[in-house]
Amino acid sequence: MTRARANAEPNARLLLGALAAAAALAFVLSLAIGPVGLGRDLPGDAAALIFREIRLPRAVLGALVGASLGLSGAALQGYLRNPLAEPSLVGVSGGAALGAVLTIHLGLSAAVALTLPLGALVGAALAMLAVVALAGNHGGPVTLILAGLAVSSIATALVSLALNVSQNPFATVEMVFWLMGSLADRSLPQVWLAAPFMLAGIGLLLLLGRALDALTLGEDAARSLGIDIGRTRTMVVAGTALSVGAATAVTGIIGFVGLIVPHALRPFTGHRPGLLLPASMLGGAIMLLLADVALRLVQPWVDLRIGVLTALLGAPFFVWLVLKTRSELAG
């Protein structure tokens, strides 16, 4: 243990540096790749326009949304000490989608600026509190998954209900948007709308490193190390609600990023939740940006949405996790 930690310290900088470099590369790829080749002859200032108004918001949102999802996944797993915690699985994304849909269809988002992300993060916070209340910290993976299933089922059912009741002629297509998120044709105003909240949430969650490290020893030990458990919980709930809520408000539900990324990176972080936080933030950004690039590369053949792609990647991972847990239980 001590030897692992001694090794982990110098590795931390190396790991985060490598992840940051990869994230920067993925960001550039996302700017460079799209249906239109920016190198070829384009009329007037079309190339500049495409770059500024379409590629840039898409890449910025890809990075920020990915970072939000990866980081909140790591924070939830660390705080709940449960490997299956993830924003979309525990209903936080569903709650955010419900909040966003309600503000849109009650006409609030058109009337008052910022109500869309605010509605989404209130929804996310309520869902989060409901899951914590249902599952608690001692429930184990099954309780958490059941609580998450309950909360997210209610949230998505209410999203569908709100869309149906609104007599929206596009209700079914819009349901697909909210349940299978998308980064396509997002705009700079949407970035300005969501980015401040996502950044605030990311900032809050990154402050949790010491508390989550201490929590691995149990709540009593953490308390004796001077960690305020109540304050930690408030920060996890607020940080997740801010980042995932605002992300969902502009992209819909993108699942599994918060599950896959922390698991993939945990072996490299010496199983320290504190180091896993920034690593998962960068890893989430990398994963979502690359998934979005892949989407645009294969797009000529299939009608694929990014939420579908992350689910395709995530579901087998989930199966692997189940098998691993089973073999651990057997062993």
């Binding site: 799209g34 249906p35 326009l49 108004e53 379409i54 929206n168 948007f177 705009s187």
Partner: protein, 284 residues
Amino acid sequence: MLRRSLAIIGLLAAAAFWITPGRAADAPRRIVSLDLCTDQLLVELVPRERIAAVTHLAADPTVSAIPEKARGILVTHGGAEDVLRLDPDLILAGPFGVRGTVDLLQRLGRRVVIVPQPQELAGVRAAVQTVAEAVGEPAKGAALIADFDRRLAALGRRGDGPQPTAVIYQIGGSVSGPGSLADAALAAGGFRNAATGYRLTRGGQVPLELLLASPPDLLVLSSAPGEYRTVLADNLRHPAIAILRREHASIELPWRHWLCGTPHIVDAVEKLAAARAGIEARAR
């Protein structure tokens, strides 16, 4: 003006109807329509006391060309039970979406007429004729078709220059492709559909950046950017669309004009022809 002439034609047709007795006796008098497009034809061909119900969309001004004429008519939600409750002697349906209901109603011995969805302007005449004959109003149908043809013929000659391009850009980035009624309206208005020039990567959806890279001569929006406050319509509010509209010709051509193959498609064609005249005047 148009409406008045239509009304006069309608009155004449009604008079002709009264003079020829015998038809009235067996003409259906409790007609139910299960499709937005048959709703509109029905309402224009038959006095409302003979209409038992239409769909809720008929009175929706965003998709129906005749919302005020349909207002107040009983609405059916299209379930077989709901339809049977009205004891209809004729049921009009479109080719899509209500297959199960139609099968059930036919098995129960109800008369169902399925009106094909026109994909070109000639099909509009056929659709009017089908409904007019089914409801026992062939004279009114002929009058509608005559008016339709007169307006199409009055569009005037287009210039000899190369055909400008246009694209009908809709909520969610969808565009109307070749073989659709909207495509036929574009052609009749004197435009070449630019949708064929884009690699349609996601079904009928065009990524916004393709639109920016090769903009059409005329950008046609299927709804005003502020009309639908849903996330799906965010693409119409995208700053890039606003920039395109500043630099290129652009019109809004609401769905109600071209969603259905009714004679109202000519409204769309007239708007497009006017836009084409504008583009040609500027080019000169």
